[in-house]
Symmetry: C7
Subunit: 245 residues, 7 copies
């Protein structure tokens, strides 16, 4: 152990057993940074993402606390991890998206954006002078060709499309929840999709919450990525409560 | 402990538990550098910031000792931390603000400025050859769209809008004070907002002060960011004293 | 041992016995990263590649889990190793292929692409500031002049054309299997080539699998590189089963 | 102690308690380099600076030994510290002043120059490849708008306007002396200002000196920065002696 | 020993006795990498090179396993050492040769090419950020002016013209063999030259081989560099066998 | 001691007591490199420099052994220290002088040249990647405005005008000698100035020497910098001998 | 000793006693690399250089083994030391010579070339990222103005004109030999000069040699630098033998 620990002080070297320690530490940093859990799933023609909204201090304007970002009107992003790294990556994503639009004349497909960002993250694990970013990005859009799309990009530079996924403190529990629903998911309409994500988060957190305690965002076929208002969120919570009743 | 201490000699590496030690040390440096406390809050259409004014030597022209900076006429900034880092960041903010005005033809919104500066601070935590800046910036403006806005940017590159916030030696105490007032804050008019900030600082410092011992600055809807004169400050102090009486 | 271990912290130095440890560790990382095995072989006028398809999580869209990439219509690639490195190398291959087409006006021959990528991998083993890529690429195409071509590029920058080859967890076993068939391979027609690859993988994994559990891709003379659909794969599996019966 | 000493070999890292050791060592180097003391004060419309003139060797042309520099006709500078660093900084100040004049068409205000130089000094404390400069600069001018101005810039990149200040070996004693006079200073006319500075230096050094043993420089409203001739200095010394008598 | 071993972790430093350890290790890596032996000699107007052809795996297309490269039609090259380094150097040689042709309008003379490549190898032993290349190049051509030319370039950057030379595992034995023939070599016609090289390799390996087990290449006056076909090689082997008989 | 010795392996860091060890070592190297002593003084309108001329080997052309350099016709230079550093600095001085002439259209004043070179030397003490130069330069000229000028620039980047100065092995003794003469020096005519320098060197070396054993150079008002011929030197030596008699 | 050894791992730092260890090691490497001795001397209007010609292997074309290089027709060079460094420096000299000719329209004087190369060598002793070159260059030419010129440039960057000099294994012995002849050298005609150099080498090696065992090169007034043919060399050897007889 003491010997192997020598391999974790440099970004760009392997340990004798082929591990990249600094990348593993970056995952740990991303998971523990905020203590929040985020979930996302996609239905027949909708993607929905839900995350906890914990205002770290009561003095912060709750309306400004958000891990949800619109990259371009059709692509939304939910970040989990070390907040400054999250925001830096969002800035980069917006830059890459605009650069694509400028060069090619049409909006960047969500898969291309996910790949571009993953490539950047990969370089941070290969190059000696930059540390990896301690954050995970979930990207959603309804692609003209592929339909509803949900991608996750992590500190090592993996990017994968998911039917449903989660990140953060209770990532494993949320994943378990979704796995039970995975058969039905692709048949869900817009409302069912949103509610599935909300119920998942409620289930893993083991508690009820109010509309102000979560962030719900969604993108539908033909529509733009949007964050639900507290009222809209409450309406979904009420519907869920009635269903349970 | 002795093992973990090996991870704190490099800017851009994680410790095994995902911590960035140099960033934590920069926070410590920022908090302890001046020993001063700064507070800020926003009312219905005003932002106010108050900080202690301790002339480090009697020979310094008191009128020149200030942690309050006008970035552009509509955006003010209150810096807390290692003084040279504060001033270097102010220079950078002015450069970024002018650059924005030049490129886009209108003044930089305060939120964009806060994000830009936070991105720069984030890079200093990711890149191997620069240390993080040991200072915290509080930025205020009355945004045309969002109304009164108060942002805080820290050495790690966080930036967040606040209803009220504090930084420096008694940051926690001031935060506690504001939390009790947070319900009323958004209803305060200009004078009430300023007084709330002054009273907060007075409360946490546990002492009366004269107009020359604090710096009070404010920005109102439709107006420019300005620092109150000693007379204006005294007037507020007198009003507060009368209210108490 | 403890002495020699000093030579494995730097990318660009030799150990006293002429070894490049970081390159060896990269091989280890490439082999152990995914735990999957990939095989490839070429027949009279066809190349076929088969790899395991293990959807790491049930929530991932199985249709999107793939280690098979089309570089240009006539060249296909099967990556094995650390996934982000795989994808970064694919991005680079596509860039190099487009750059070649743009410069010379015709598609890059698969051998030139393999060499270009191998040169890039070699530099990562010689230069101090980048680690080697932990992945192996198998490239196939039916070259206008050389006929069916199968190349393998590894983390050290080797590139070689093969009649059949394998990489990943059971590389050795698959190699042994192919060696027994090597006499017949060049006479195989398209279907026989594909089935040979499938049977090889089945043999080394010691288990039956369904069409959804493997990825089969192929490129035929005069055709484009394509991935077989699940149905096409199933048909081959059935044919194999019947042959065994 | 032995643990903390590990943090002082790099320019750009913090110690666990937030200190920048190399910057502290630079202050020590600046203070001890020449062993001289410099003082400066500003009156109603004059700034005066006085420093010891110790010709390090009798063979040096005394007329050329000087720590007083004219940056531009209206701005003077008194350097204390490691002589080569002093002179390098003076070169830089002249460059910056000329650059400003060239760009904007009017002479650089003394405050802008102080800030620019302080920003440069700050970078030397943040960047890994340059050590901080071991010198302190005192800058004087009579600003068109702010009247007599006296700034001090130190190795950490602080810059502050002073009513009176000192640097070097007996900085503290000179500061104490000035603090007793601070009430009267702003009322002093040109001669009184010069004498105050001379008397301060005489007091802290506890000895009489001749006109050739000190350097006296001054800048008056509407005039240029100039160094007094030995005769002029003697006249002041005589006046002081008469006043004492 | 333990003291001196400190000097072998850096490319660009000498040991106290003037040795460059990393360069020595690169030689060791070059010699041991492939385990093969290569020989070359030049006759009256021909150069011939012969190397073992060991197909590392039976699955590799034997026709593609080759250490023989045509740099330009008139210059051939036989590489021995770490395969990726060999191929990277071949790429560089081709680039340098084309660059020369483009700039000066005629093919690069083989001596100029050898010198250029040796200069590049030398820089890799002098510069801190790149390791030396672990390979040896033998270059042959029939120069318009100098007649048949044979050069060897090694990891240290030596380049020398030879009458006959060898590299790899049995370099010394092959050298001994040639030394006995050196008197006759320059009188050999094309066939004798080729056979001399083949017999040398046969002698040091102590075994007969078939045409498929060696690579034979040759360049004659007025002709192009070419690799012999298996049949041509067999014919030489038969002739040799008959001569022995 | 062992602790402090850690601070002397890097060019650009201070020791805890503010010392720059590498700069101190450079002084030591400069003083001990050649073992020679150089002296220089200036009279009423002449500068003279004298140094020992020790031909290190009898085989060196004595006429070419010289530490005296003409930078431009009006400026001469006497170098003491590590010979390659001396010559590199002379090259740089000539470049800087030519650059000045080209830019401004008149010859560089000797003081400007001394300052420029000192700035360059200072950077070598501040920047991490270059060691300081181990040499001292004495520069002489008769300035149009300032009259005879003698400057010394050392490894730390100090530059100062002197009435008389020395450097090298017996620097201190020569300095002592000159200090006794300093009152008379400025009244000396050309011949007296030259003889004073010669006598100084003779005195500190405690031995007679012939014209071929020293280098004597001089620059007079209105004239060019020149090195005396052996005959001219002998004439001065004879005059001195007669004076002594 | 163990303490001081810490200073020899970096190119650009001084040891506490002012030594540059890496430069000293480079000298050792240069002297021991080839084991050969080279000598050179200049007569009344001729320069001659002689070196041992040891063909390292019998297989090397003896006509190609040479340490003698023509830089431009009028300047010749004899290199001693680490062969790749020698050849790299020769490439650089040719580049510098051509660059000079191109820029100024006339051939580079030998002294300017020696100085330029010495400056480059000096930089390699001052800069952190390149090691010094382990070779010594002797340059000869008959300068239009200075007549026969002989320069030596070493790894530290010294360059000096010599009447006669030597380098390599028996440098000291050859120097002793020449010192006895130094009085006569400048009167020698072309043949006498060449023979003096040959006899010197013969004397220090204590053995007779044949024309094929040494390299003799010479440049005469009005002529070009040339290497003597074996026959010409034999003729000199015979003349010497007759003189001895």
């Amino acid at each position: 152990m003491s010997r192997d620990s020598n391999y974790d002080h440099h970004i760009s070297i392997f340990s004798p057993n082929g591990r990249l320690y600094q990348v593993e530490y970056a995952f740990k940093a991303a998971a523990s940074a905020s203590g929040l859990t985020s979930v996302a799933c996609r239905g027949s023609d909708t993607c929905a993402m839900v995350t906890q909204k914990k205002v770290p201090e009561r003095l912060i304007d709750p309306s400004s606390v958000s891990n949800v970002y619109t990259i371009i009107p059709s692509i939304g992003c939910l970040m989990t991890g070390h907040s400054p790294d999250c925001k830096a990556l969002v800035s980069r994503m917006r830059y890459e998206a605009n650069d694509f639009q400028y060069k090619y004349g049409y909006p960047i497909p969500v898969g291309s954006l996910a790949q571009r960002i993953a490539d950047i993250a990969q370089v941070n694990t290969q190059k000696a002078s930059f540390r990896p970013l301690a954050c995970t990005a979930m990207l959603v859009s309804v692609d003209d060709e592929k339909g509803p799309s949900l991608y996750k990009v992590d500190p090592a530079g993996h990017f994968l499309p998911f039917k449903a996924t989660a990140s953060g403190a209770k990532e494993q529990e949320a994943t378990n929840y979704f796995e039970k629903k995975v058969g039905d998911l692709s048949g869900y309409n817009a409302d069912e999709t949103v509610r599935c994500a909300i119920m998942c988060l409620g289930s893993v957190l083991g508690s009820d919450f109010r509309g102000s305690e979560i962030e719900v965002c969604t993108v539908e076929k033909g529509g733009k990525f949007k964050k639900l208002s507290e009222e809209e969120t409450e309406r979904h919570l009420n519907d869920i409560a009635e269903m349970d009743a």
